[in-house]
Subunit: 353 residues, 2 copies
């Protein structure tokens, strides 16, 4: 019954059409020929088209293809029914750029500057002080948790709908300092292909990010094909209230949930209620998600994107202020997770390259 | 891209098959004839089959059909794209029986009795005292919130997977005191049909219940066709930890979120990130969900199930200890929500009737 739920209108049409035709008992032989021809054609097409054109031949690409084959082929010992094919993706540094700082931090900095005249007390209060003084090193030292707190504090005091509009407006004009492009163009093309490839193979793809859930939802559907209900992230509390007879959710300056590190498995369980069979991350913040996904028996897939390409993007790992990859890199060796070397494994990083 | 994500394997096959055939440029005329025949056949079938066979003719049934037609017909001024067709359903009293007490309360009582020897202090501590003394009136007066707290307290101290197994084991043997059947047979057949009808029309159906999220997920997919990731409910905190090298989520005796009353819009926003266009409830606990759904402009649908059939099920509303329907019934008149009179509007209530 769940399968029925997730059918798109077009798929429902085809299913209904085919079923109805059979019921009509007209042209039954047509149908048999059609199915045969289609199966041959479909097979030929599937073999001909490369689902991962931005991935170089190599161990990472082969590991992906091998895993998907193993869990989707019905005669495979590792076959997993479509409903249980849950794949979770970190966002910052896994799907889009996180240097020279998290995108949400750039957004927060712009918000702090815009709102500073209304908050004279921020001059003496961290992390606002660091932002206003342009002391990014002091700010960076507060880590992802510090960022989340900054965002929570500066992004409360409006309705959820107002906040969505603020995010959309900012993304429409903000540009990355090095690439001079909108942030939504600085998404990793090989990962976009991977998301689509998994979905074409019956996976449900979720984002599981330490970033704010409401900061991602306004654009993840358009950019990644991931619907708002499949985005999990950190959140502040909201309050249901009426204003002029219209119900609204008002954002409160209080942390509700931090979806990072050991919070990721908790957030996954709360939102999805199933354990993923594949997880994709790039930093120590993803360690527990990768453990939760892969260390439970059965054929599982863990992948870490290692930023090794200073020329086309950035090179950083064990000592980076943002997206530090240290313990999770060691764990990858121990647990057999696939480590993507961006320089070696990706033909291009961004679509425009 | 989201559409592609939600395709089932079978639908993908048909889509691919049809697309591939077209690419082959073989039998193009066959295809045209096929599509024409199928459209005719599909139309005939759609008109012939009643999607809501357990609903009597009347205003409630007509309101449902009219709403679905208005938001799904592409030339309708109220058309809503499939991705935005979110429908939320309360569970207790809306999808299954909640008398003589919430099912989860019956479960909690059995758990308290089973665990009592390990907790001598419960003899003097409410609401455990009331449970052990069989004083259901005292227990009922604590309301849904009291129930949730009882459940949280008695159902912590194990992993999420252990809890799932406990729920499954209990449901396999527990029987309703009046109907002497498993609780999973005491679901409202007209609502099961409604869920399926909405999904067949491109809706995503979610459960939004004051009950425990982990109490519902083990069975909602089988009984309602609602996948775990589309179940929203109250929850306790969980902690990620390792035991013997295996990661687990351990349930803590601490409330994380109460998904009732004003918590329902908050839970909907947190999990779905879109505002529903249709909401279905039966008690005052659903008031804010109905307001949030329907009072935002655009064609919306609100429905309240009114328990009026003491013979086939139960009759209760403004003074019931469980599932009280008072303020929400008044609000239904003001806001034009559809009120289902179970006795009048439903041909049968349970499948076995």
């Amino acid at each position: 019954m769940v399968g029925g739920e997730s059918l798109t209108g077009r798929a429902v049409f085809y299913n209904r059409a085919v079923a109805s035709l059979a019921a009509f008992m007209v042209g039954v032989r047509f149908l048999a020929v059609l199915v045969l021809l289609s199966a041959i054609a479909g097979g030929a097409l599937a073999q001909g088209a490369d689902p991962l054109p931005s991935w170089n031949e190599g161990a990472a690409r082969q590991a992906i293809l091998g895993f998907v084959d193993a869990v989707t082929r019905e005669d495979s010992p590792d076959f997993v029914p479509s409903a249980e094919r849950i794949a979770t993706f970190d966002n910052d540094g896994t799907l889009w750029v996180e240097q020279p700082m998290y995108v949400q931090l750039a957004f927060a900095i712009d918000r702090v500057k815009a709102l500073a005249p209304l908050h004279p007390e921020w001059k003496d209060k961290e992390p606002f002080k660091a932002v206003l003084e342009g002391d990014l090193k002091a700010l960076a030292s507060s880590g992802e948790k510090g960022l989340v707190e900054l965002v929570m504090e500066t992004h409360a005091g409006m309705t959820t709908e107002q906040f969505t509009q603020i995010v959309k407006d900012w993304l429409a004009t903000a540009r990355h300092p090095r690439f001079d492009r909108p942030y939504t163009e600085l998404v990793y093309q090989p990962m976009i292909e991977l998301l689509a490839y998994l979905r074409a193979n019956g996976f449900k793809t979720f984002i599981v990010s330490g970033g704010g859930i409401e900061f991602m939802r306004p654009w993840t559907e358009r950019i990644y094909g991931v619907a708002p209900e499949q985005v999990i992230g950190s959140s502040i509390k909201t309050k249901f209230q009426f204003k002029d007879g219209i119900p609204e959710l008002f954002r409160l300056p209080e942390v509700h949930f931090i979806d990072d590190k050991a919070g990721k498995p908790v957030g996954i369980n709360e939102h999805i209620g199933r354990r993923p069979i594949a997880a994709f991350g790039n930093s120590d913040g993803d360690l527990e998600m990768l453990q939760w996904t892969t260390l439970a028996g059965g054929r599982r897939f863990g992948m870490i994107v290692n930023h090794t390409d200073a020329e086309r993007e950035y090179a950083y790992d064990r000592k980076s202020a943002f997206g530090r990859l240290d313990a999770a890199l060691d764990a990858a060796t121990v647990n057999g997770w696939t480590v993507v070397d961006m320089k070696r494994d990706w033909k291009r990083i961004f679509k425009f390259q």
